[in-house]
Subunit: 413 residues, 2 copies
Amino acid sequence: MKIRNAEILCVGTEILIGDIVNTNAAFISEKLALMGISQYYQAAVGDNPVRLENAIREALGRCDLLIMSGGLGPTYDDLTKETAAKCMGRRLVLNEEALENIKKIFAFRGKEMTRNNEKQAYIPEGSTVFQNGAGTAPGCAIEDFENGKIIIMLPGPPFELKKMFSEQVMPYLTRFTDKHFVSKNVNIFGMGESEVESRLKGFMEDSVNPSIAPYCGDGEVRLRVTASSKTVEECESLVTGAIERIKASEVGSVIYGVDTTLARALVDKLSAFKKTVAVAESCTGGLISKRITDVSGSSAVLGYGVVTYANEAKVKLLSVKPETLEKYGAVSEHTAREMALGVRAISGSDIGIATTGIAGPGGGTAEKPVGLVYLGVASDKGVRVIKLMLKGDRDRVRVLASSNALAEALREI
Amino acid sequence: MKIRNAEILCVGTEILIGDIVNTNAAFISEKLALMGISQYYQAAVGDNPVRLENAIREALGRCDLLIMSGGLGPTYDDLTKETAAKCMGRRLVLNEEALENIKKIFAFRGKEMTRNNEKQAYIPEGSTVFQNGAGTAPGCAIEDFENGKIIIMLPGPPFELKKMFSEQVMPYLTRFTDKHFVSKNVNIFGMGESEVESRLKGFMEDSVNPSIAPYCGDGEVRLRVTASSKTVEECESLVTGAIERIKASEVGSVIYGVDTTLARALVDKLSAFKKTVAVAESCTGGLISKRITDVSGSSAVLGYGVVTYANEAKVKLLSVKPETLEKYGAVSEHTAREMALGVRAISGSDIGIATTGIAGPGGGTAEKPVGLVYLGVASDKGVRVIKLMLKGDRDRVRVLASSNALAEALREI
């Protein structure tokens, strides 16, 4: 059988009452898109057997492959397997390997296995089982080749789901697909979505294969370029051609990379030039360091970071002059300059970046409102300070300030 | 008209191909739950007019209130308003106030308004308009009181949607509801979901109003206690009673707060005791400082943080002895101890916390595998080091290490 289209059905009242953000749907969607399996619809339903059954039957009426996540836990309201098995006319049977895995995990954790955990080892009869390498609940695929329908069930915890999907479900699915897709993101910082699209309008509208779609968030724009073809090589070539055209356009100057992030692009460029960066943070409170060290391999380019929330810390760790703080205040061009110079000096790094600003919600004045951030960048070229006026709540001001800092550091290399 | 149940329909191909995580659905769901509006089903559909129309008609067949997000942008594939208006038999008309708002935003940004932005000012005839305080696309509600149906359309960017929903849509919706809900979360760290549930099993199963539901993620467990009643006071009293019972149970010792986070609980407790904390981070790379400074008001309790990724930084900023690094290595009990003592000393804080470990994916050995983290905690009681063996990828190891650090700091006060 060939899978033409899939749907995702996430199970859990916690989704419907907004207790969790559905990251599983996004993860699975991205992988399905890469495998060339179309998805036109996705849904979430609560832990209610009647509504769950209706949702499964409706989805199976529209798609060949239904991927479900959640509701495989040990608790009494976890009903996904029972309900899916009912829809496919199967009964649940004990899977010995799954039971062994559950026992092992409890032994490793040094915790007592509770009776309700055994329930997790029961699987719909005749299923392909995906053992759980990171948790207790096994996943499985119930196949009904006669009617061309497959239901895959995956555990809800994102870490378990991701591991199982990448390592077991994707290889399993390749036997049911024959089309290839390649998708790449052109990363842009420093130009809004409307402006990007306006400058590329004709080109974007005319692009069918590869298609070009703009996405924005946290002050960044991504252009997703996606090609489909019978071979991966042909997809790659189509995508590369479109990216070259975008780079050569008016948008070219604000592109900072392809399939990357500001932090990763910075780590990569510093590594390539054998340079280092050090970070001094006031209003961003560690976020810049955190984003840089999110990148594996960042230890080669970042050795030092300081969070100088207190004025005293700015003086003690960064040698900011007490007079500067007194005369101009902690949130000032002068302080940002001395912080950047200070962190560069103490660390012996090639580039020093610093932030000081008002993240809010408190602390703003008419003269220095919430959202005012000074960004210092020091290098062997000297030191410069950028004044930012950022709109948004505390989180957003901090994220945008850190993104601007990463972008300026990138520019400085 | 009274709204009994709602559905959310998020529009955007970017959701179906996994380009964005659907945080809007979680946000709206949480607010609806608090307003006592039930939601049994939620869905996402792409920017395709036929499938979008089908999804709207199906949802309207099941619910009284359909909340849609996304697809109000300036670009040619933004079709939500057009399609919803068609389903409700309305045409689009220019809203002058929305047009003025768009013009103002472009003037404020100092950018040229492109022709496609005008499209955003068109609204279904007779709608209640929600002007956008944070972006260009207005939202609106199309009401069909005769058939007891309302469609609300909101912009896709989360910051715009949240602001509009909280400030305008929630007050608008109160006229269509009459039941109150109160929900609180009991926060637990240091015990797994199965164990929590096992210890509270009878109580949780018997609890209908308030209901008690367990959620887990990132090493934490939350018990959500939700009561419904005709008055808020009665809800509060039901919830408080259940929380008291949970606190008095065997689970009581691992509860760190109600409706809080580890970082917020730490900031609150430090503030209450007029104490301060300083953070020295190696493997967590700024994440602990970032989590603490996420909390508004944290500047009163955290003045100093250092990210000492390099050995040299550990020596220079924290006075870790070079001999210690040589003899035991950077990832060792001894180094964690000296880092915690060092950051406490340099900052003059009451508590010093430090992390050093192998976050992975590289850098692990048989003796010191990925996931090994030493956590140092120094205070006037002395210094102690906790050895953690964490399972997961780089992100998860860092998150779990930082959560453990916050929990240990909380314990130390």
